[in-house]
């Protein structure tokens, strides 16, 4: 058990800066998820923690100790790779026992640990199988088993579920959650899937272009995104963004755009606004259709997706696409013009220039 700390960590590949001096502190026993679009530097960051990539500058600490020059084998970490990286010529038992054998652990203890891990993961019957004889989910379990038998200070996961089909992914996700609950080992987990990030992480670090934009609990990132990028990345379907003009008058913030005029009591929350802003409304914060009222969005319905538990309406609002997650027990006509009511308490406002959160 140990905490993982990154201080001003930078990674350059030639002239390309993949990770731009990030700071990150993963508490002992925490489950931290690095999430972001492809090429955001999340995997590079993970590989630097593992020691598979050299740090260009800055410090990586595992349990107080700076490990920049420590080879992976001496960092006491275990990693689960995206393609599992199981040793193809070894059976499941030996795949899991390999790291223990190299550490000269007594044979009897190896046996106990491998069997314990195998039963925890439900692969006891497969110990004599070769990796190629296993299904994707079973390979995934072996890869996780190989990590947990070592009983390392830190677990590193590199998009471990991305090669599984949707159903299995959900199942393995809950299993990983239970596993972490049981073992309480510090974990750093990389994914591009925000749902995985939200469900697994005790804290999530949202990355883009080698920078961490927000590092907070999943709920915090959802409720109070630090900027427009985080707001758009976290949450599904993604937040709607509508360009608007903002004015302050008599303590009220007035937002006008094509298809809407919204008046918000500012309540002193905001003193100055740039003229050009972006209004952010989550699909689940829209209700309707409503016939009359204040502060409504007038939209033209393009597509409807009834999903049983919810009704997704894709509509056009002054040239911008708006998605609304509505009550499914109603009928919304395609090509009709309807009015939607946003929840004024959960509106987000961003500076159009800097994408910074204003409200």
């Amino acid at each position: 058990m140990a905490e993982v700390v990154l201080e001003k960590v930078m990674k350059k590949f030639g002239d390309f800066v993949a990770v731009k001096g990030i700071d990150l502190k993963v508490d002992d026993g925490a489950f931290t998820v690095l999430v972001g679009p492809s090429g955001c530097g999340k995997t590079t960051t993970l590989r630097m923690i593992a020691g598979l990539e050299e740090v260009t500058s800055g410090e990586v600490k595992i349990g107080e100790k700076v490990v920049n020059r420590v080879p992976p084998k001496d960092r006491d970490i275990a990693m689960v790779f995206q393609n599992y990286a199981l040793y193809p010529h070894m059976d499941v038992y030996n795949n899991m026992a390999f790291g223990l054998k190299l550490r000269k652990i007594p044979k009897k203890e190896i046996e106990e640990r491998v069997h314990a891990a195998a039963s925890l993961l439900g692969i006891e019957g497969k110990l004599k199988s070769k990796p190629r004889e296993l299904s994707g989910g079973q390979r995934q379990r072996v890869a996780v088993g190989r990590a947990i038998v070592r009983n390392p200070k830190v677990f590193l996961f590199d998009e471990p579920l991305s090669n599984l089909d949707a159903k299995l992914r959900v199942q393995m996700r809950t299993e990983l959650e239970q596993l972490h609950h049981k073992l309480q080992t510090t974990t750093v987990y990389v994914t591009h899937d925000q749902v995985e990030a939200m469900t697994l992480g005790s804290k999530i670090a949202v990355m883009r272009d080698g920078v961490i934009h927000q590092y907070a609990s999943p709920q915090e990132t959802y409720d109070h995104p630090s900027n427009q990028f985080v707001a758009g990345f976290i949450g599904s379907p993604a937040m709607n963004f509508l360009p608007a003009r903002a004015t302050l008058s008599n303590g009220n913030l007035i937002l006008t755009g094509e298809g809407f005029t919204i008046t918000l009591p500012s309540n002193g929350r905001i003193d100055t606004v740039p003229e050009q802003v972006v209004l952010g409304i989550r699909p689940e914060d829209l209700t309707g259709p409503v016939s009359e009222g204040e502060n409504l969005l007038q939209v033209k319905v393009k597509v409807t997706e009834p999903l049983g538990n919810e009704l997704l309406v894709y509509a056009d609002c002054g040239g911008e696409q708006v998605v609304a997650n509505l009550d499914p027990h109603q009928h919304v006509e395609i090509d009709s013009t309807i009015k939607l009511s946003p929840n004024l308490n959960t509106l987000h406002l961003f500076d159009k220039e800097s994408e910074a959160t204003l409200l």
């Binding site: 598979l52 790779f81 393609n83």
Partner: protein, 311 residues
């Protein structure tokens, strides 16, 4: 015949099959004429007394049963006499196994070297291929020139100038040393083949396996032993057996270097000597059949292990 129903002769299947026969027949003819017929004829000759005397009336040569085989097996050039006179059978086995082993070993080392990127890797790769692509006659004569027994021989000259030897040596005419030299020559000439095969497999090894092993606690040696060698096992076995079969059959290399003298006589060269030295074609054919039967054993091992392996 009803309309719409095609005769068997006209059916698509029949036409395709006729085309197949048409297209493969030239190859089939060449294979039969140049390989199958001579092979069967050799078996026939090996049981008949065919020499220079009756060569123009070969089909009336007297049948002699196993006599040719008995004479080959008892021939001093074939049979193991003592530790100084190995005979071609033992020499062939020692020569083939030793040079094949050395070929694969050097090929493996070269492949490992070229697997890592470094400046001038492309040029090194091309240079390494040279012994394999150069014509055998020219490289054999370069080696003979270097090892020439006269004081003007390259190696003799260099060693004498350095004061390491007092008098010129006849390297290729020294028992033991000559065999060692042809073994080294063989390994030097054919390691690029092994290298290419091994390199191709080496570059296909999933790099994350090494990363997983690093994280698992493996150092350089462990990674080589448990990942590289395990992943190469199949290609190493295949290259070893192929080279063994080819080397066992090899005639030109030894013939050009030593002519089969000084303890380097192998079965293919002996076949030549029986047939075109002594003009005893029956004995030559019998010797070739013995060579073939040993080869068939190797081939069987190859088919059963390498070709059956599903790894």
């Amino acid at each position: 015949m009803k309309r719409g129903q095609l005769s068997r002769w006209d059916s698509l299947e029949a036409r395709e099959s006729r085309l197949a026969w048409l297209l493969t027949s030239p190859t089939a003819l060449i294979v039969f004429g140049l390989i199958i017929f001579p092979a069967i004829f050799s078996i026939w000759i090996s049981f008949h007394d065919v020499t220079l005397r009756n060569l123009n009336d070969v089909f009336h040569a007297p049948f002699v049963g196993w006599k040719n085989y008995v004479r080959v097996v008892n021939d001093f050039a074939f049979k193991f006499q003592n530790f100084r006179q190995w005979g071609a059978a033992v020499t062939s086995v020692v020569y083939s196994f030793a040079s094949t082993f050395l070929t694969v070993l050097i090929g493996l080392l070269a492949a490992l070297l070229l697997n890592k990127p470094f400046r001038g890797r492309g040029a090194t790769r091309a240079i390494f291929l040279f012994p394999y692509v150069a014509p055998i006659v020219s490289v054999a004569f370069v080696w003979r020139w270097i090892l020439d027994p006269r004081p003007s021989g390259v190696l003799n000259d260099v060693l004498m100038r350095l004061g390491l030897i007092g008098a010129p040596k006849a390297y290729l005419a020294t028992r033991g040393l000559a065999l060692l030299i042809v073994i080294v020559f063989e390994a030097w000439r054919y390691f690029p083949f092994a290298m290419l095969m091994i390199l191709a497999r080496l570059q296909a090894i999933d790099k994350t396996l090494y990363e997983a092993a690093s994280v698992d606690g493996a150092g350089g040696w462990h990674k080589f032993r448990f990942i590289t060698l395990s992943e190469l096992r199949y290609v190493l076995g295949a290259v070893f057996l192929l080279r063994l079969i080819w080397t066992f059959n090899k005639f030109d290399d030894i013939f050009l270097l030593t002519g089969g003298g000084f303890g380097t006589n192998v079965l293919p060269v002996l076949t030549y000597q029986f047939s075109f030295g002594a003009y005893n074609f029956g004995k030559g054919a019998a010797n070739a059949m013995i060579l073939l039967s040993i080869l068939l054993v190797f081939l069987l091992v190859y088919v059963r292990t390498v070709m059956r392996s599903t790894d």
